[in-house]
């Protein structure tokens, strides 16, 4: 190609789309959710402990926790969650017991997919939050920290960004086109919309990068740092209703006792700092924290001092407007009440999502036909 050819061609080009873009920052939503994925499948029975149940001690001669912190109805909390005790006393901690689904999968991959897409048939590629929240052109609905998978916010119509951390994200977005352009078909319009979502998030994160951080001290762990980053985004008014972080290491097939307690300590310490920071910023009533995991673990411990993949487990919910206490029904540990050695769920996990949709966000419940909300908020 020579210069003349090129000029000949370039003269045909319209000058459209050359104006710099203004990425309008919105306002912090009034109802924010922080999702905490306990990756690897958390042992529910050693988290919320049926400490007066003989079957518990029979099934777990080595792993039973005897010094749990009694809550009520013969249930105790793992002692390493002690940092969260004030929240229980203030009625801001809810445990939903026996959450799961029918014919549970024991594969991490499949079951996580079930949880994140709210479909047990493995035929849905939209995350559950994609279905609950409407996509907006001017902002992202979710930020995933520490993972590059959009998870519950993925799929068609989703609007979330995932990143290892904000600094990495800002480096990655440097080369993305910032110009607006005329989208002459639906595919281009979609691409432009995605581009704008990323640029808006980057623009906001750039601003927040230089903004003030909370005075609360977070645990110096990977989990603590992520929670601190989320905190910074929330207190500086990021226009995003959902954050997702992950705490890794729950796949405790062998030598479970110490590592699991250690994870409980991380979880409790991190969430305590997060709630303190929210309280200090006057935002605790605007935030709801919910944990989830692929599945619980087998009732009986295995020969390696660990537990194998199981089924139903409790979920922890925290927040200023949460109705504290024990919700749902604890599944029976009696051997004849187990299914293949696993607890049988008493609450379908989609009831959790229905609750968030209907009672927290006041939005339609996509699972209204089968799943009713619970009164934990």
């Amino acid at each position: 190609m020579n210069r003349r050819d090129f000029l000949q061609y370039s003269s045909l080009m319209p000058l459209a789309g050359m104006l710099p873009d203004a990425f309008a920052a919105g306002q912090r939503p009034d109802q924010i959710v922080l999702l905490v994925h306990l990756q690897g499948a958390n042992d529910g029975l050693n988290t919320l402990i049926p400490y007066r149940d003989d079957f518990y001690y029979k099934a777990r001669p080595k792993l039973a926790i005897k010094k749990g912190i009694p809550l009520k109805n013969n249930m105790a909390m793992n002692p390493y969650l002690k940092d969260l005790m004030p929240l229980w006393e203030q009625g801001q901690m809810a445990w939903v017991q026996g959450v799961g689904y029918s014919r549970p999968s024991r594969s991490h991959f499949h079951s996580l997919d079930v949880w994140e897409t709210a479909s047990t048939r493995h035929n849905e590629d939209r995350g559950w939050l994609t279905r609950v929240l409407t996509s907006r052109a001017s902002a992202v609905n979710g930020i995933v920290l520490g993972d590059n998978d959009l998870g519950p916010m993925g799929g068609r119509g989703g609007s979330a960004v995932a990143m290892e951390d904000p600094a990495t994200f800002l480096r990655q977005t440097k080369y993305l086109n910032k110009r607006n352009y005329r989208a002459s078909n639906a595919s281009l319009a979609h691409m432009l919309n995605v581009q704008n979502q990323i640029n808006t998030a980057a623009h906001e994160l750039e601003r927040i990068h230089h903004a003030k951080r909370s005075r609360v001290k977070f645990p110096p762990s990977r989990f603590g740092r992520k929670l601190e980053q989320v905190t910074k985004m929330i207190i500086n008014g990021m226009d995003t209703p959902v954050y997702k972080v992950t705490l890794e290491g729950f796949d405790t097939h062998a030598g479970q006792m110490d590592p699991h307690n250690n994870l409980m300590n991380h979880l409790g310490g991190g969430l305590k700092a997060f709630s303190d920071a929210m309280k200090q910023a006057g935002l605790w009533n605007n935030v709801l924290v919910m944990t989830y995991s692929e599945f619980g673990r087998r009732v009986a411990e295995n020969k390696s001092g660990g537990t194998d993949h199981g089924a139903a487990a409790p979920q922890l919910v925290l927040g200023g407007r949460v109705r504290g206490g024990l919700h749902g029904r604890q599944p029976s540990l009696a051997p004849d009440k187990l299914y293949d050695g696993d607890l049988v769920h008493t609450v379908d996990f989609r009831q959790m999502y229905a609750t968030l949709a209907q009672r927290w966000w006041r939005r339609p419940n996509p699972w209204a036909n089968q799943h009713r909300p619970l009164p934990f908020v």
Partner: protein, 429 residues
């Protein structure tokens, strides 16, 4: 009928092959539609690269039974060998002389999905992949019968667990919902009935073959789609294929693959379906019908399909003389872009279309193209391999419609190619 312009031939090639090699695309210029399509669909002999070493399944089973440690090791080994298989396919996609046949192989992989994740045994996925490749442009009826007996499919949709007294409906349901008719064209009784017909079908994983067990088969009489009998699985398939809807369902999928994300005109689908069925399900007949249609050539649909990760990654490297990346690297990039070959995300396969592009994948796409086209020692060499042509023709070669961002004001072949590849329109075909 008019003669094809260069822009027309680029349209034809990018939508049916893998990328648009300069020579092949240029060679079709000036031909009629029919001539060009006939040339394109005349396949070169297919030679896949040698199969990577895979551990016999009997050895894997033995390892798994030894201990928990052995189980872990076996899983790890299958993961590594699965990756080898993924690399094997990427290599073939990159080098095949029959890109249209390979495009169709990938299409069928997305129609008859199976995943390493569930099947765990790379060798079975390899056999399925070869089956799809062999029948990619052949006869759909023949392929469907073969897929129903395919060991990977029998494992993936639990066909091997479908036995008398304890039916598993997974395969029967997907046969109706995803492979032939689509939702709303059958009912739950049909699913249950079809499941009975396929009881006793199974697989020998060590040999990688189909098995049939008389004992596990339920020989009872039932009603399926209004017909009553003790039908076999093969008879079920043939009853389904008698329905015009089966051919129309495939015609709809072809519309989405080759023409547009928009809903098709039902009259067009009826017409294509009728031709397809009349040809006794010849895939080539349907493909020719689609490619010869005015809809395929309409300017309304140019540049409206989103390139799949394979289109983008493999297509770019087949089109332009960039230094080749390793198969492992390419496979990893495709995975990051949401198209992990042999591991589709759901039984429905990849949803494709605009769903290829989300906040994650747009960043990966941009960064990949940016890295590829960045000025370097290696890219200097590339300059001399670029075709001698005019600027207008280069734009027509690389973009389906006019770029939406301004082009560089300083001339230079490489700069031009870079600008075109970084234009959002490059993501489309």
């Amino acid at each position: 009928m008019g003669r094809l312009s260069f822009s027309d031939t680029r349209h034809l090639v990018t939508r049916t092959a893998l990328g648009a090699e300069w020579g092949g695309t240029k060679a079709l210029e000036g031909k009629t539609r029919q001539e060009a399509i006939n040339i394109l669909l005349t396949s070169a002999p297919i030679r896949t690269p040698g199969l990577p070493a895979l551990t016999p399944w009997a050895n894997v089973t033995r390892m798994k039974q030894q201990s928990n440690m052995g189980k872990k090791r076996a899983r790890k080994m299958m993961k590594i060998e699965g990756q080898r298989l993924k690399n094997w396919w990427i290599k073939h996609l990159l080098h095949t002389d029959a890109p249209v046949n390979e495009h169709m192989t990938l299409f069928w992989h997305n129609h008859f999905t199976s995943s390493l994740e569930k099947v765990e045994q790379p060798h079975l996925l390899y056999l399925q992949n070869q089956l799809l490749r062999k029948n990619a442009m052949g006869n759909f009826r023949k392929m469907l019968h073969a897929v129903a007996r395919d060991p990977a499919m029998l494992v993936y949709l639990d066909g091997n667990k479908n036995i008398k007294g304890s039916p598993n409906e997974n395969f029967a349901r997907e046969l109706l919902e995803l492979f032939t008719l689509g939702r709303g064209h059958y009912n739950e009784t049909d699913v249950k009935a079809a499941a009975i017909a396929f009881t006793g079908w199974g697989t020998d994983r060590n040999k990688g073959t189909y098995t049939y067990s008389q004992v596990k088969h339920d020989p009872r009489t039932f009603t399926f789609m209004g017909k009553t009998g003790a039908f076999s699985g093969d008879q079920i398939i043939d009853i389904i294929l008698e329905k015009p809807r089966a051919a129309e369902y495939l015609a709809e999928k072809f519309w989405k693959e080759f023409i547009s994300d928009n809903h098709p005109d039902p009259r067009v689908i009826k017409r294509w379906g009728a031709k397809f069925k009349k040809s006794n399900y010849s895939i080539k007949v349907l493909l020719k019908e689609v490619l010869n249609s005015d809809q395929f050539w309409s300017s309304k649909y140019r540049g409206t399909l989103t390139k799949s990760p394979v289109d983008l990654v493999v297509g770019t490297l087949r089109t332009l003389p960039f230094p080749k990346l390793s198969a492992g690297k390419l496979s990893h990039i495709c995975q990051l872009l949401g198209q992990d070959l042999f591991d589709p995300p759901t039984v429905k396969g990849w949803s494709g279309g605009t769903a290829w592009i989300d906040t994650q994948t747009l960043l990966v796409r941009t960064s990949l193209l940016n890295k590829l086209t960045r000025h370097s020692k290696a890219s200097e060499k590339m300059q001399s391999y670029l075709p001698k042509s005019t600027g207008t023709e280069v734009v027509e070669w690389l973009l389906p419609i006019a770029p939406v961002l301004p082009l560089p004001t300083t001339p230079g072949k490489r700069r031009m190619v870079r600008a075109l590849m970084l234009d959002p329109v490059y993501q489309l075909k």
